[in-house]
């Protein structure tokens, strides 16, 4: 009887200890996630700042001046015209319809 009870208590204790360890792992993991999250946010904010600093350092016309000072040649990157597909308005007379009130104040 005693041995059985002892076994039950030990088993319960072992289960409780395992649960406790498991719970502690969960807490540790959650804490790690929190720390990582905050670190991530910190890095992101550093990135924002660096992005702004880089933009300040590479103003296009300053780069051009540097190139000219060094005797290099400023070569344009061709930007081909973006022709949009367009459709004429079918009745050209509609294009000139007044869009303002005739009674508006006008004058030379």
């Amino acid at each position: 009887m005693f041995a059985k009870l002892l076994l039950i208590i030990l088993t319960a204790g072992a289960i409780a200890a395992a649960l406790l360890v498991n719970r502690q792992h969960r807490i540790d993991t959650a804490h790690e996630i929190t720390v990582l999250h905050r670190r991530l946010m910190g890095h992101e904010q550093t990135l924002w700042r660096m992005q702004a600093e880089v933009a300040e350092q590479i103003k296009p016309n300053e780069i051009r001046r540097h190139i000219e000072r060094m005797g290099g040649e400023w070569v344009a990157l061709p930007a081909p015209p973006r022709k949009r597909r367009s459709a004429d308005q079918p009745d050209s007379r509609l294009a000139g319809q007044p869009t303002i009130d005739e009674d508006d104040e006008f004058g030379g």
């Binding site: 804490h31 720390v35 933009a55 061709p78 081909p80 015209p81 597909r85 367009s86 869009t99 030379g108």
Partner: protein, 583 residues
């Protein structure tokens, strides 16, 4: 087995049972207490322990403003505001000195910031700390002194295009320009964070249901090209200074897409001019001023002639080689007895020469052949008297005389660009009709995406042949007319100059010797890519005031520079065209 042995083992078993039962009862009692504490907190314990959770806002970034090639125009970073909670600070008397040791500055100033708010829990000491000040506070914190994160808007290019970009206010909301126009797209949503903290206030873990992620604002790509914009601002500023003008305005338009590539507006604080054009917002900050390219109409003068010329030609009121009775000397007398003079007399000029030589008399002669309705319709068709709907805040429609008030005077004034006021945006859009195939694109302040496959409805204003004919005549303006001083060595331009008198501030009549000089041009000739307009407000007439002479060279320089930058090959048939364009 002896009897005392049985008794002993019985006793042992009994004690063991008692012990086990006791342990079980104690464990159950403990479990019950835990459950009880979990279900309902003891107020005494809660008071002692305090709240173990903290709430924190997770700042998100406002969307970025980019130029058409993706360069950063405006972005946000995280900065820190320093505030003091006077209710928590142990010694308010020594705090200013302690703070001054860490972040610098005068302890008296710090004291002045805290003292009036000593009964509150929020006294701001510094709106924005520098990095070393943040580090100093973090390294040796003071109880009751708090670093509060806040967003800071950066404009890496300073005041470049400030009137287009605008700025944000204290609470990071757009106040003007694109910041205001696209505020809904740019606006961010801060996240929320609820976390369990330890006794020192450090974050232990974030509650599963206590995290609401932040959402960054969307970025907006403007149609502005920073390289062209900077060139335009520099060149215009130089011209305004050279001619001591009251101000200058310039717009560069991509005629294919209707994108505004650059737009500059400079005011030169000068006695006699500031009284005419007041801009109190600009005195506070350049980004808070009006964008006069969209808001302030001006009398276009002769730059308006091509539109009436094209419409009259299309209606068959005159043909290019028709000889008109322009006077050899003196002024032309209209059918109603109005006298109209030219800068230089050209007897018997052809309709073509009327535009090239910018003859007011010739324009009046042909305008009288048009009915008022035909002329009004032509003016409206080119988009004058209506907003361009570019979206630029404060845009106006210009001033066009209504049909009801239209007189014979209007019929002969409007064709030479008088009795009408237009905005620079309206002008470049209307001129793009001549640069295109006779259609008018909608203006855009945002860039067209390379994968944008949408159809757009454009207005046909002129027939293709009328647009091409007008363009050819305007090309001759550069060789035979008022554009000779602005001729480019690299690109064949088609252009028109204008020199209009400056209207009096009180609204009646004009100043005798004050002008608005302008020049508008497109290039290259065969496949036009850009249209550029320069308006010089009230240049010093003693130095120069003809549009072709003072605004023309500015337009030419920008056309040369912008087209070279865009990689458009030169089309000017001259051997010396390949000189290096580096200004």
């Amino acid at each position: 087995m002896p009897p005392h042995h049985n008794t002993q083992s019985f006793r042992t078993a009994a004690w063991a049972r008692v012990l086990i039962y006791t342990i079980v009862v104690l464990m159950l009692a403990q479990l019950g207490r835990v459950v009880q504490l979990k279900i309902s907190d003891d107020p005494r314990l809660v008071q002692h322990a305090g709240s173990s959770f903290s709430n924190r806002a997770e700042p998100a970034r406002r969307g970025e403003l980019l130029d058409r090639r993706g360069r950063l125009i405006a972005t946000s970073t995280l900065g820190y505001r320093l505030f003091v909670d006077p209710q928590v600070v142990s010694d308010l008397a020594t705090l200013p000195v302690e703070l001054a040791e860490r972040i610098g500055g005068d302890p008296v100033d710090i004291d002045r910031a805290i003292l009036p708010r000593r009964h509150t829990r929020y006294a701001v000491v510094s709106e924005l700390l520098e990095d070393w000040q943040v580090d100093a506070i973090r390294k040796s914190p003071i109880r009751g002194v708090v670093l509060q994160p806040r967003l800071v808007r950066h404009y890496p290019h300073g005041d470049l295009a400030a009137h287009i970009v605008g700025m944000v206010g204290y609470d990071h909301v757009g106040l003007g320009g694109a910041e205001h126009l696209f505020d809904n797209r740019l606006r961010q949503e801060d996240g929320k964070l609820r976390y369990l903290r330890d006794v020192r206030g450090r974050a232990l873990w974030i509650e599963l249901d206590g995290y609401q992620p932040s959402r960054e604002g969307d970025s907006v790509r403007l149609s502005i090209d920073l390289v062209i914009q900077e060139s335009v601002e520099q060149r215009l500023r130089q011209a305004v200074k050279e001619y001591n003008a009251g101000g200058g305005r310039m717009v560069v338009l991509d005629v294919h897409t209707g994108e505004i590539l650059a737009m500059a507006d400079i005011l030169n604080p000068r006695e006699g001019w500031n009284e005419i054009t007041e801009d109190p917002g600009r005195m506070i900050h350049p980004a808070l001023g009006r964008n006069r390219c969209a808001t302030d109409p001006y009398e276009p003068g002769s730059t308006f002639k091509p539109f009436v010329w094209a419409a009259a030609t299309e209606l068959g009121k005159a043909v290019p080689e028709e000889v008109l009775p322009t006077p050899a000397h003196g002024k032309h007398r209209t059918s109603r007895g109005r006298f109209i003079g030219d800068a230089f007399n050209y007897a018997g000029a052809t309709w073509r020469e009327v535009l090239i030589k910018s003859l007011n008399s010739g324009m009046a002669i042909v305008a009288e052949r048009m009915t008022p309705h035909e002329l009004q319709h032509a003016v409206r068709r080119f988009g004058f008297g209506a907003r361009t709907n570019s979206g630029i805040p404060g845009e106006t429609a210009g001033i066009v005389t209504t049909a009801r008030r239209w007189t014979h005077h209007s019929q002969t004034s409007v064709p030479m660009g008088h009795e009408i006021a237009v905005t620079p945006l309206q002008m470049v859009r209307a001129f793009s009709v001549i640069a295109r195939d006779g259609t008018m694109p909608p203006l855009r302040i945002t860039a067209v995406s390379p994968d944008d496959d949408e159809f757009e409805i454009v207005h046909r204003v002129l027939s293709e042949s009328a647009a091409m004919l007008t363009r050819e005549i305007l090309r001759d303006v550069m060789t035979e007319g008022t554009g000779r001083r602005a001729k480019s060595d690299r690109y064949q331009m088609f252009a028109k100059s204008g020199t209009a008198q400056l209207p009096r501030r009180e609204g009646r009549g004009y100043y005798d010797n004050r002008y608005v000089s302008s020049f508008i041009a497109g290039a290259p000739f065969e496949e036009p890519r850009i249209v550029v307009l320069c308006v010089m407000d009230d240049p010093d007439a003693k130095i120069g005031y003809y549009g072709g002479a003072i605004a023309g060279p500015v337009v030419r320089d920008i056309i040369d520079e912008a087209l070279t930058y865009l990689g458009v090959p030169p089309d000017q048939p001259r051997p010396d065209r390949d000189r290096l364009v580096a200004r």
